[in-house]
Structure formats: structure tokens, C-alpha cells
Symmetry: C2
Subunit: 287 residues, 2 copies
């Protein structure tokens, strides 16, 4: 199967799922660039995440699972800003047509669920598979949820219990992440201005939020997923729950602490400093 | 140097060059997503290109050259649609901080030349370097130059002589590609509706243009770069000249043939069928 045949297969699958054009994409795969016509009144959100074999997954990981996870990670960033996803552009590298097919099976199933248009991409033949997934989303102008908007006095919330992904990894059964898009899109209406997604672990991600906002945080209690340890809930990555702050109570969310004004970036748990032990992409995982 | 330090160095370099925000990017690196505020009346163009060591460059290639070339390839796609570049998002993988530094030195020098904002990215630690560069550009609404707009009777043009990149590669001195952005932006005013960039070689790229437009083409003469063979001019990749069609004469461009209505996708040179021998990304280079 050559590049043209592979692309033809992907295009057929896109047409069948209604993911070739739409959401503003007026020209998709097939020209030098995709063409997008923005809707007035929207700000656009852009994020990208790469996955490399032997780094983010292994040779034993099913390709459809890599495809699902790669899209889910970028969709989670869109959710964290309160956005609705519009389209994606994918760079994929593998020399195995069956692997590519399976990657797109997982990728497009999730894309269909959230109606994300596959606007374009790039295919390259390499011995070790990798991918990079860019997603564009939209929010009403000026309404993106930012990491930098936490203020002392805010209550700190998460969208659900933590540690399930770290527990699943320990048990050798990686979990498919589910981006919290619906939750993200309702937060602004509830008065929320500050949010981020938990990709690397609560301890390190909360520290980043505090640094960006110039505040500190006190954690009182952290909801644990069934079977997960406190360490997994505090430091485990890949949960993709949303972390956010608010002055008003937020329905369907779990209060875990409060924003304070100690030294910017400091995080306390049970009134003791909590070291950031989550995943740093550039180093080996430190937890 | 950890991820945070590397990102801080890149951000400092961006600020110095005025490439951290602007061109519609109101929030760049540092949050879950970049935020872009579109200008009304524009269509937006999106393209992505990846480069992998041992595939698109070697361990001996200077990292700054990889950075320059990676951005140039995507900018060339923007040029081919008649667009002006706005911003870029970069996924970079390497476990060598010095390589990453040098990559960005080459990348940002070219970004500065064309005022392309570095809106965001992703950094990953892998033993073999690779990158994926997404560029967003803009054209006035409905004015993007398309591959599919060639019509029988059009004259076929290139923006300059061909084969220089293939010749340089043969001599072991790869050439830095220069995206034809100024040329691309003036074509529409001159009545041009159909264009693409020559990345894989004239024979294969012209065939793609003909397939997209449902037309055929007759080449009469092909301008050769100094020292390049006819084979290098016809089939060599990486020239990044623009290929386009027009009814009216186009100044500063070289007429090379005409669009005809034989079988769609057929290309003739000196009235004999010209086989597509250029680079197919998914296979080994066939020329």
C-alpha cells in the first residue's frame, strides 16, 4: 500500500463518518493547506501533543489505543480552556500500514464522538511509530478559561476522583482517557475563570496553576478513584480530570482545597508542603 | 537542563525577537492552549510537516539547518495558497538540550524574517530527534490558490529554475529552502487561481495538480538551475518553487507548458508521457 492508497482509505473513512469538512473547514485533505473559515465572535484555541513509542507507549500497545489517547490528550487541553473542538491535524509516522489503519480506527472513533473534523495531516515512514496531534477549538471571544486567573479566596475543585490512570498503569491495563469537554464548556456559565487539565499529576499541575496565577494553594482532601492510593491520587498522571477554581459552589464538582496568598507556586497538603512529583515530559517520570 | 529551563530559554528568545504574541495570538506559550483572535474577512490556512532523523536528515545534519528547513517546508505550503503566515506550533523530540537550542536558533531566525509567532509547542525526550511544524496563515476570504483550479488553455508557470536542491544533495551540501511567500501573495492580483509548491519534484507534483483539476499537462521546456541535469529539474524534490497556471502572462515567472484536456492526470514532456519519479513520502525515494 503506498501513500496515495493509505490516504484514500483514510479519506473514505472520513466521508463515511462526516468528518472530512464542516465546523468551518471548507477544504480538508488534498491541497497544500486545509482552509478554515472562522465564525465571527469566536476566539480559537490551539494545542498539540506528541506520542512516541518507547516513551509514551510500548510496541505492545494496540495502535487504536495510541490513536484514541493521542486525540484525547489534545481534546483535554481544549476542555481545560472551556472550548468546543472544531478540527484536528495529524502528523503520523510508521512504516506499517496495518498499524496506521488501526491508529486511525481508534482516532476516528473518538473524533466522531466529539465531531472533530480531520482537516489534514502528514504521513511519514519510520521504523518506530510516533504521532503529533494538533487540535483547534473555539470559545466565545474573551471567555477562555486560563491558568492565570486563580485568586486568593477561591475554592479549588476537581471534576472527579483521581489516581485511576496511575492505578491502571500499575496493573498493566492502561485506561483510555475521556476528555471532559461537556464539563469544560459549562464552567464559564458557572462563574469559573481559571481551569487546567490534570495530565501530569495533581501535585505538579496545581503548582503550575499557582505559578501562573501568582498564588499558593492548600489541599484539604483529595478524592481517590476506587482502589487508588493517596500517592496515586496526588502524583499520578494521565487522569485528564479538570482542575479549576471558583468563588461560588460548583455542582457536580469536588472541592479539594482553597487558593491562598503564601509564596507564589507553593502547594500545601494537610498544611505541609507538597513536593511536585508528577511527570516531567523532558525527564524520566519521577513518580 | 529540565523542561521548564528549556522552555524559559525559548521564551526569552521569543520575547527578544518579538515572536511571543501578535498576528492575532493573544496568549502564546504557557497555558493549556494558545489563544488566537481571527481577523474578520480572512480565511485561515493550516499545514503541517514532520521531519525525522534517518529519514529527512541525518545525525550529521546541523540542528539549526533542521530547524530552518522544518519551518521553511510549512511556510512553502502557505506560500502555495497565496497566504501570509501568522503563527506556528512546534512539536519537538530530542534528548539533547544543545540540539534543541540549535534547532530553535535556525527555526527562529527564519520565523523572525517572516514575522511568524511561535504560539505553542510540545517538547518530548527521545533518543532520535524529530519535529512536526504546524503553520497557520491567512488569505482574504475565498482567495486561496487551489490545486484544483487549473483549466485547459491555461499556461503553466514556475517561479524559478529547478533542480538546485537535487544537485546540492548529490554534492553533499544540502541547500536551505527559501519559501516563496512574496511571490505567492502577489499571484492572486495577477489573475492566478491555481498554484502548489514543488516539494517532491515537478513530475510527481504536476501530476497531482492535474489529478486535482481533472486536466492534463504538456511541458515544453523546463528551466534548469545552474549545473543541474534535466533529470534533476524534472524529478528532483525540495526545490520549493511555486508551480501555477494562468490565462494571462505573469511577470517574473517562467512559462514551461500548458494545461490540456487529455486523460486527467497525464503529463507529457516533448509530447511523450512523463512518468512521476519524484519522492513519495511513504516509500523510499524512487529517483
Amino acid at each position: 500500500m503506498d501513500e496515495a492508497e493509505l490516504i484514500a482509505r483514510i479519506e473514505k473513512s472520513l466521508a463515511r463518518r462526516g468528518l472530512a469538512t464542516g465546523n468551518g473547514i471548507i477544504t480538508g485533505i488534498g491541497d497544500d493547506c486545509a482552509i478554515f473559515r472562522p465564525r465571527s465572535g469566536d476566539d480559537l484555541l490551539f494545542t498539540t501533543d506528541q506520542m512516541h513509542q518507547d516513551r509514551h507507549f510500548t510496541a505492545a500497545t494496540a495502535a487504536w489505543q495510541v490513536g484514541h489517547t493521542a486525540l484525547a490528550r489534545s481534546l483535554s487541553d481544549i476542555a481545560a480552556m472551556g472550548g468546543r473542538p472544531l478540527f484536528t491535524i495529524v502528523a503520523l509516522a510508521s512504516n506499517d500500514p496495518a498499524w496506521i489503519d488501526q491508529f486511525y480506527a481508534g482516532f476516528l472513533a473518538l473524533a466522531e464522538k466529539h465531531h472533530v473534523i480531520l482537516a489534514g495531516g502528514d504521513l511519514s515512514s519510520t521504523p518506530t511509530p510516533s504521532c503529533d496531534v494538533m487540535v483547534c477549538g473555539a470559545v466565545p471571544r474573551g471567555r477562555a478559561l486560563l491558568r492565570s486567573k486563580a485568586r486568593p479566596g477561591d475554592t479549588l475543585y476537581v471534576s472527579g476522583p483521581l489516581g485511576a490512570a496511575a492505578l491502571a498503569l500499575e496493573r498493566g491495563r492502561p485506561r483510555l482517557p475521556a476528555p471532559q469537554l461537556a464539563m469544560g464548556q459549562t464552567l464559564y456559565a458557572q462563574g469559573v475563570r481559571c481551569a487546567m487539565d490534570l495530565s501530569d499529576g495533581l501535585s505538579i499541575d496545581l503548582r503550575r496553576l499557582c505559578v501562573a496565577s501568582g498564588v499558593s494553594a492548600h489541599l484539604d482532601s483529595v478524592p481517590r478513584a476506587r482502589g487508588a492510593s493517596l500517592h496515586q491520587a496526588l502524583h499520578g498522571g494521565e487522569d485528564y480530570a479538570l482542575l479549576f477554581t471558583s468563588r461560588k459552589p460548583i455542582p457536580n464538582a469536588i472541592a479539594i482545597g482553597r487558593i491562598t496568598k503564601s509564596n507564589p507556586g507553593e502547594v500545601f497538603f494537610d498544611d505541609r508542603p507538597l513536593p511536585p512529583l508528577g511527570w516531567d515530559h523532558y525527564h524520566e517520570p519521577s513518580s
